[in-house]
Symmetry: C2
Subunit: 477 residues, 2 copies
């Protein structure tokens, strides 16, 4: 008797991400290269590991006094405390007042998963989330899967090639009361004092809940304190918030996926109540978080000499990034590439916008998302519309669905219409040129990982950028 | 202007578990001991670690060729394959036919969290879960929090002091069509061939979905293959199932919390579809599972000499457990403790029922749960009722809420009524005696971890059990 499968109705899941990496892997051109890795790479093209990590790993393996018992649900206490001290400073008021706490979390998603579960259950007025496009996957999707409404935005002004605080303020102005704002590093978004005041006033009056994302403290400016400074400003202004603090990237222990969900509350009593609820969620999620990563990090942070060595290794990475950026700029200058490339060196950190064109000509639309191969526009009449584009398969085909599953409309490559208005023309053709002609894989928004550029590939990359800018038609840079 | 907290309405969470351990920790009696640890202990009272682990950990720390890049969402491929081979045998048909697969999971809850999320989304006819009481926390709660209806049951026949296959069959008989059955080790529940046939026929006809729990393969009989044999029987009968395979306990790397959610489907195509959906859930849960535990285990399993040493270390643990049980039985015999204590040595594995009394005298009720300090009865007229009891605080007070939040009724210690019927009398007084008089902390159901008994404490423990049996009134053993 043939049995019917329980899984008969389960479809193959849509791949959510990694399409760029997958296409790269399938490409058999010998010159192919991938400039969108999440992790920092060494000059030899290997994932960077802080020099203190190997030593510490060995010390831990040799330590006979260590207890390998189950970790508490909330994680290693010493690890959580060391993480908080790193973020706020040991003697910061929020720590002295016992109103900052945390839960050890697992992997790159754990802190968002845990925080989102809490907000879903306990802050039911905050079911709308704003997130920058480059964080939509996977963090925005975590909220979305849980039933939150997720809006994407960007602060990158592709016309002026800079991160624009006014774009941030504009998004906040239009955001509804009580929403959640996922905020990544603000180091590249230089707010004036008056813009800061405006932002704080807006967020306070709208009771916007900040959910910070600190994925690599120290790898933006090379200075741990500087990279977290904007967070202290929110603390000083009396905000309560969550913060996903990842410590895998800045130690180079990507495979250990360790972090903290940091909670700041108005007082200790509120903090304890929030932590007690988070504990129940963490128990159901993983019960006991793995310790190796937490042990390595705690050992380094609690030993002044080791911490000093770690800080130096971070500075080293950032110096290399700046040197690479200078070299890229200089090589483009020598090649006579049109345009100023100052925006490359003006941005901090390993991941920065190249500033290749991706023109949005919609008179009545504004860019909402520019992640990967999809472009989402907010259209005045038609609401959000999405442009899906496959640069490797058939680059000529543009599909235009609305987000609300209405029938797809097909457009032309160089200008298409929705209703009677031109929405865009020649989207991202420089990026497309790099991928399809030069086999250099970079995200649609042109935000690349500069540590992927090294002495072996810099000439090929810069001459390819030069070609892309000079040879693509309608180039206006 | 004082700001209002976002967290104002968040209450302190109820502690879900660990009340026994917490009470033990707060007890300042010098003789106190805790016999309910989850992990195997050495004769010196330290968590057991397999001898191969330390070596392997060192080798990994010293290996310069290792890449610390992000782990794939599904985990280390070699680890998942090694886990599957361990569970089913490398050349088993289910592996040869490519219809068994898995996802690396995190912590003790990860596999259940992931599997439950899948069942919630894709098997909407399976929203009722049956689980044995001792697994209710935390695994049953994971299902419950997701909206499943969770029923507890037990196979422990406290009258005849044995695990009774007929109790299992009875539960299956009354379970609804298409429910999920969480099944732990069946090694102690000796089914006759005709009982097996009956069980398979019942489960097939009701389309019951098995969710196995293999928390410590090899630590039940000392034989890895023997401990997983009942699973092979389900495979041979054409069942599709999930299995939470934990590998932390049998290696003694509790702090690394590593396991696999194993999937068996009718064919490879169905398997791939299920795995693709699980991948999306895993991405949102943790994105990249930590590797240290997986690396240690894979290194051992893929090296025949190391695997041999590991197998020997498992046999050693099980031999010690059996020796301890024999000693406990012999000491109770020498003390003249009433009753036969054969049930102690008849049960396999570290965690076994002591068989202390916990009498359920309800004429119209049957025991549903006997975990920790709560007893849940299924009452003929009133549905599930719960007895909460605090043996350390005020042992005389019994509270009797119904599960559906109806008003609490207070009962007397030695007999209480719900409506006009007597539900129980003198519940668990031998267990209570051990805790309150002797400061020996054991769960309400009397299921203890025998590796917590060693040469330093065995005399105190056995003489205390003897006292408990002889001195408690209404003893009927």
């Amino acid at each position: 008797m043939p049995t019917l499968s329980v899984f008969t109705d389960v479809p193959m899941a849509q791949k959510l991400e990694g399409s760029l990496l997958k296409t790269y892997k399938q490409d058999d051109n010998p010159n192919k290269m991938f400039l969108a890795y999440k992790v920092c790479m060494t000059s030899k093209g290997r994932p960077w590991v802080s020099s203190v990590v190997r030593k510490t790993r060995m010390q831990i393996a040799q330590d006979p006094s260590l207890n390998y018992e189950y970790t508490p649900v909330m994680g290693m206490k010493s690890f959580v405390q060391a993480s908080l001290n790193l973020l706020f400073g040991k003697n910061s008021q929020v720590i002295v007042e016992n109103r900052a706490g945390g839960v050890q979390t697992v992997g790159d998603s754990g802190a968002f998963q845990l925080g989102a579960q809490f907000l879903k259950s306990w802050c039911q007025s905050s079911q709308i989330v704003y997130i920058v496009s480059s964080q939509k996957e996977p963090h925005g999707l975590i909220f979305q899967d849980m039933g939150f409404t997720v809006y994407e935005h960007t602060f990158w002004d592709s016309a002026h090639l800079c991160l624009d605080p006014n774009m941030l303020l504009d998004v906040v102005k239009h955001a509804p009361h009580g929403c959640v704002f996922v905020i990544g590093s603000m180091g590249n978004c230089q707010l004036t004092p008056s813009q800061w005041t405006q932002l704080m006033t807006l967020m306070k009056s709208k009771e916007i809940f900040p959910f910070f994302d600190i994925p690599y403290q120290g790898l933006s400016t090379g200075d741990l304190e500087e990279d977290a400074r904007f967070l202290h400003y929110f603390v000083s202004q009396g905000f309560e918030f969550f913060c996903s603090q990842s410590l895998s990237k800045n130690f180079g222990i990507y495979d250990e996926g360790v972090g903290t969900l940091v909670v700041v509350a108005l007082n200790n009593q509120l903090l304890l109540r929030v932590l007690s609820q988070l504990m129940n969620f963490a128990r159901a999620l993983w019960l006991n978080p793995p310790t190796t990563g937490a042990r390595i990090i705690t050992s380094v942070l609690c030993n002044p000499a080791m911490q000093g060595e770690w800080r130096q290794s971070l500075e080293g990475v950032v110096e290399n990034v700046m040197m690479t950026k200078e070299k890229v700029k200089e090589k483009l200058r020598l090649l006579g590439t049109p345009g100023s490339w100052d925006h490359i060196t003006e941005q901090k950190g390993s991941h920065s916008y190249l500033g290749l064109n991706c023109k949005y000509l919609g008179r009545d639309s504004s860019l909402v998302s520019d992640l990967g191969f999809g472009l989402v526009f907010e259209h005045k009449l038609h609401g959000p519309v999405e442009l899906l584009w496959d640069p490797c398969g058939s680059p000529e085909i543009l599909t235009l669905p609305t987000v609300h599953n209405s029938p797809w409309a097909r457009g032309e490559r160089d200008g298409t219409t929705l209703g009677s208005e031109t929405l865009w023309s020649s989207p991202a053709q420089q990026v497309e040129y790099l991928i399809s002609e030069k086999h250099i894989y970079i995200p649609k928004n042109g935000r690349i990982n500069f540590t992927c550029i090294n002495s072996y590939n810099i000439d090929y990359i810069t001459s390819s950028i030069n070609e892309a800018v000079c040879f693509t038609k309608d180039s206006e840079r």
